[in-house]
Structure formats: C-alpha cells, structure tokens
C-alpha cells in the first residue's frame, strides 16, 4: 500500500492531479480515530496495475471541515455520507442520515471517552 500524505487545504489539488477516471478506480474512504486526531484515508487502485493500492491520508481535528471531492470523483458522495454518519466527520456538501437513521447515536464508530 502506497501512502501519500496530504492536507485538508491541498486535498482537492492532490487528488485532482492524481485521479484519472479511465486509469484509477476509487474504492472507498476510511477514518481511523486516533484520539485527539482522526486519520482520513482515500483508497484508489489502478485498472492497469490493480494490486497497487494508493492511499491518500491526512490527520484532522474532529471539528475540521473536510472538502467534498465528488466534483473530482463523482461516486465519492456515498463514502463521504457514510463517514459523516459513522465517524461524525464534517464533510462539505454532505448531509447526515444516509447510513444511519436520523435518531441514531452520532458517530458510533468514534472512540468512547
């Protein structure tokens, strides 16, 4: 797994420069709760060399607003909506209530304090 560090500010620029729809397959977004910080990850593979997984990652504070990348990767809205619900991550243009019912506990996969 090839991990490339990015930041919230340069995320769209980095993924925009990397992602070519006819070359790259976007798999999913993930978040790992590290306590004070959350590691956000975007997983891609290449249709021509599919065993090579490329991961963009960045560390964010829980209240950081993360840019929406669905203008670059159109199917990313599904993964963004899931993380907004399950990890309570604030993602631009992403509303809650896609994976969890509106009255469900907020961010159930976040570490309990």
């Amino acid at each position: 797994m090839n991990k490339i560090e990015t930041s919230v500010d340069s995320l769209k620029k980095d993924i925009g420069a990397f992602y070519k729809p006819d070359l790259h397959h976007f798999m999913v977004m993930n978040a790992v709760d590290l306590g004070d910080k959350i590691e956000l990850q975007w997983f891609f593979c290449n249709y021509a060399f599919p065993s090579a997984v490329t991961t963009f990652y960045t560390l964010i504070s829980p209240d950081t607003e993360v840019p929406d990348i669905s203008d670059i990767v159109p199917s990313a809205w599904v993964a963004q909506a899931e993380l907004a619900d399950l990890m309570n991550i604030n993602i631009e243009n992403t509303k809650k209530g896609f994976v969890l019912e509106p009255d469900f506990e907020s961010g159930p996969l976040r570490k309990k304090k």
Binding site: D22, V28, V78, F98
Partner: protein
C-alpha cells in the same frame, strides 16, 4: 413537460428483498431522478469487531455480515489478518477457500437471476432457478457444515478439509447442473417476454461505469473489465485454476443476466480444476503473533470487489476494521441508471443490481 410525481419504493416492498429505499421523481411514467437511502440495518459490526471480539474471533463475526457472501467476508478478513501477523495460508487452504467462494458464487448468482425472473412476473422461471440453485446449498453444507454463514475461512487457513467422498459428490452434482444451466441460459437469452422487459432496461455505459467506479457483474456487463480474481494472484491463485474474465457491452438488465450466467460456467470450471489439482499441505499456518501495522485486502465477492482494511496495535483487539461491500460501490451508479427508464421497469432493474444491504450497512 408532463406532470411530475414522487413515488417511494421500499424499504418494504414486494419487489425488494433488501431494506433499501428509493424515491423516484417521474414525469408521467418516466423516471427523471432518484434519491436513495440505505439506513435501515446498521448493526455496528465494525465497532463490535474492534471492541467485543479478539482478532481470531473476528472471522466468525464478519461471516455474519451477509448470508449470501459469508465466505467472501471471512476469507477477506482472514487474509487481511494474516498480513498483519505476517503469515501466509497453506496452499491447500487457499484452494479450499477458492472452492467455497465459487460454490457460493453459484448460489448467489442463481438467487439474483431468480429474482430478476420473479420481478419480471415470470414465476415459473423463478421457481425453476431456485430449484436448480438448491444443489449449491447442499454442496456448501457438505463442505462447510452450514448452508449459509460457513465459518470456513479462519485466520491462517481453513477450518475443515475436503473429504474425498464430498469432492466426488460435488463433481457428480455439477454434471447434473450443467444441462440445467444450459436450459437457464436458453430461457434468459431467448424468451421473448424476458427479452422485452430486460433489453435496454437500466443500462449504463462503460464510461459511466468507470466514472462511477462500479464493480462486479454490474461493471462487467457494461464492458468494464474489473474482477479482483484477475488481479491479486498473491492471495488466491485464480489463474492457476482457470479463471477467465466475462464481460458484455450493453450494460442493461439483459447483459447483467448473461454475465452472471456465463460466470457460472467459469465457476464450474474452477471448482472442477480445484478438485482435480488440490495440493497436499496443512490446513492452517499457526502463529502466536498479534496484529501490527495496517493492511488492505480486495476479494471478488459475487457482487464485486469486497475491500477490507485492518489496523492492529500488537494486542488481541484490532484498532480499526473497515469493510467496504460491493453494493456500496454501486450505489452511485444504481441511482443514475434508473434515469430515463419507465417506473414499471424499476423492480427488474433493482433485482439486476443484486443489491445487498446487509453488507452495505453492516
């Protein structure tokens, strides 16, 4: 412009097996936009795998994510855990995993095809397909001990060996199944009613499949050649046992049916080759190590690419487990592929997506 209507379909609906909710906006009968919700069955499995169960027990937990592709989940998890403890399953275990995955693909594809027939109003074909599917369930029970939720793949290998008499029984039943499969292909290909309902319905192009990162038979029916069995030789040696990619071009319900049917022939070939060349070795690689670091694994489940991410911290409990099911990848395309179709085609289109919300919501 015709009159616009909003029509809900699901979460409980006679044409839906899964708790999925669509809200169609139609102009007279034509669907012009679709909204989807998948929020009815979240069970907190990822959380449970990191807080309630030790990493060796997790393969049994993730086997409960889905009743249809249980073996894909337990195998993908076992593989990602093996990466974290730095071991490799013995070759015989890899072959047996592939055998059960292909038996599972047969039962899953036939279930999907039966529901496409049912949603097209072809009850007799629904019953015939379900009847022919039964052999695969019986074979899975003979190999694994259960008809579903097999508990077969474990961290390091597999839990049971394949007995010679069970191998013989599988070969015998495949011989019986082959003409039945030919019969199903003939009906799905040539029946006038099915063709009328399925050709052109719910179509997406190869470009759209690529743009929306579609996976599985949904992608392959549109001409996008993506199949993890073609890619990850290090984990399971698919090409050694006769894997061949199946694609189509039209991307409609008809093409999805044909891709699934043609994949069944490949599954039969793979199962026969595995039984003919099953290597002798141990079933499990033992280790006392605890998971450390992070790893990802991709595996071709019946509906497409299954993705597992795991992170260990040198304890019995995982730091994080992330599961991405194939249907999850297809949601964006599912919503888009309805556009321009008649509302009356929606049930058949949904069945052809073969959605699994149990996996998607976890």
């Amino acid at each position: 412009m015709g009159k616009q209507y909003e029509i809900p379909l699901g979460a409980q609906h006679i044409s839906l097996l899964e708790p999925l909710h669509f809200k169609f906006t139609t102009e007279n009968e034509k669907i012009i936009s679709t909204d989807a919700n998948v929020y009815y069955v979240h069970r907190g499995i990822e959380e449970a795998c990191c807080t309630k169960f030790k990493f060796r027990q997790v393969s049994f937990v993730v086997g409960r994510v889905c009743g249809l592709c249980s073996i894909s989940h337990s195998t993908a998890y076992s593989q990602v855990a093996e990466k974290l403890v730095n071991i490799e399953a013995p070759l015989r275990a890899k072959y047996l995993r592939m055998l059960v995955i292909e038996l599972d693909r047969i039962h899953s594809h036939l279930l999907c095809l039966s529901h496409v027939a049912e949603n097209a109003g072809f009850e007799a074909l629904f019953m015939k397909t379900m009847q022919y599917r039964e052999f695969s369930m019986e074979m899975l029970e003979a190999v694994c001990g259960n008809r579903i939720q097999y508990d077969f793949s474990i961290v390091g290998g597999v839990a049971r060996d394949l007995k010679a008499e069970v191998a013989g029984m599988i070969l015998q039943r495949l011989k019986t199944f082959l003409p039945q499969l030919d019969e199903l292909v003939d009906i799905f290909q040539n029946n006038w009613t099915l063709s009328l309902k399925n050709k052109g319905a719910g179509a997406i192009t190869r470009e759209a499949a690529m743009r929306l990162n579609v996976v599985g038979p949904f992608a392959r029916a549109a001409g996008l050649a993506i199949d993890v069995r073609n890619e990850t030789e290090d984990l399971l040696p698919w090409k050694e046992v006769g894997f061949e990619m199946v694609t189509d071009t039209t991307g409609d319900v008809y093409a999805r049916n044909m891709v699934r049917l043609r994949e069944l022939y490949i599954s039969i070939r793979i199962i026969r080759n595995i039984i003919a060349s099953l290597p002798e070795s141990a079933l499990v690689t033992e280790t006392k190590a605890f998971p450390d670091g992070e790893a990802v694994v991709r595996l071709e489940a019946p509906r497409g690419e299954l993705f597992y991410y795991a992170k260990g911290n040198k304890t019995q409990m995982l730091e994080r487990l992330k599961i991405k099911a194939p249907t999850f990848s297809n949601v964006a395309a599912m919503v888009e592929a309805f556009t321009g179709n008649e509302y009356g085609s929606a049930p058949a289109i949904i069945a052809s997506y073969d959605p699994c919300l149990s996996c998607t919501s976890r």
